[in-house]
């Protein structure tokens, strides 16, 4: 039985967060309306984003380019 998106996300979070420019990994809505793993990449690191897989264990991965999150 395939892993739930939650299990898959938790298992791969450390590896994704270790990639250059990755600021956040969460679960959001994918392009087809289904839940997807959302990887937020810092603006200026778009090239590094190309190495983020489009799919992990059958779950869609969406890359979002964003700014650094700061304590407000």
């Amino acid at each position: 039985m395939p892993s739930s998106i939650w299990e898959t996300k938790r298992r791969h979070t450390d590896a994704l967060m270790a990639m250059a420019g990755v600021l956040a990994v969460g679960i959001g809505e994918g392009p087809n309306g289904h839940e997807a793993i959302v990887v937020s990449v810092r603006r200026g690191y778009e090239k590094a984003a190309a190495s983020v897989p489009a799919e992990i264990e059958g779950h869609a991965v969406v890359v979002r380019v964003t700014q650094e999150m700061r304590a407000q």
């Binding site: 938790r10 967060m17 956040a24 959001g28 809505e29 999150m69 304590a71």
Partner: protein, 234 residues
Amino acid sequence: MSIGHYAITAGTLGCLVRRGDQRLILSNNHVLANSNDASLGDAVYQPGPYDGGGSADRIATLEDFVPIQFSEQQADCPTAMGVANILNGMAALLGSRSRLKAVRPQQEDNLVDAALARPVADTDVMDEILDIGQTQGVADGTLGMAVQKSGRTTGHTRGEILQVDVTVDVGYGGDRVARFADQLVAGAMSQGGDSGSAVLDEGKNLVGLLFAGSDDATVINRIQNVFQLLGVSR
């Protein structure tokens, strides 16, 4: 509602919570406890210092906070610091302008940026949140949920939860970064000074505690983690 530890700029008073019979002010560690650099009993001003608050405006004292674990903390190991000093000395002799710094990697993820302050007088504080009113309960933040907050800088704003179960690195100024897990991310609905705002659903149920963001995102602690780690209830 502007509030802040005497040594910070200003943040937002989130809401009142209860520990036993005591009503306490809930906001962020970086608002009430100066990002760990505070002592219990320190003065909290309303408004915060940036908004003109001074010693005559002491509304509360720091009661408790959950320490923030920063990703790299200054090393406290004499050996590591000694080795770094020796290598920096050699680098200087060789003409290098780069320096090594001994750091202690922090592996544990944070769940909250949260703190409590005890009002100097219970009659000085109100249960109602400005522009929103009385909280009705507590709810789980879910994808697509419409949320609202009332903050010191941008006032009453609305947003939508776009991501859940988020692991995120948050900058705290200088080179300090802290990693948080199990966060909610909404669209843009806050700016600097809104930290500490309570985040509620449309039914005025408490969902989270706002603490960080960017031009297009807002990062929110789950209220369940806040309540559990501080040992408080609504």
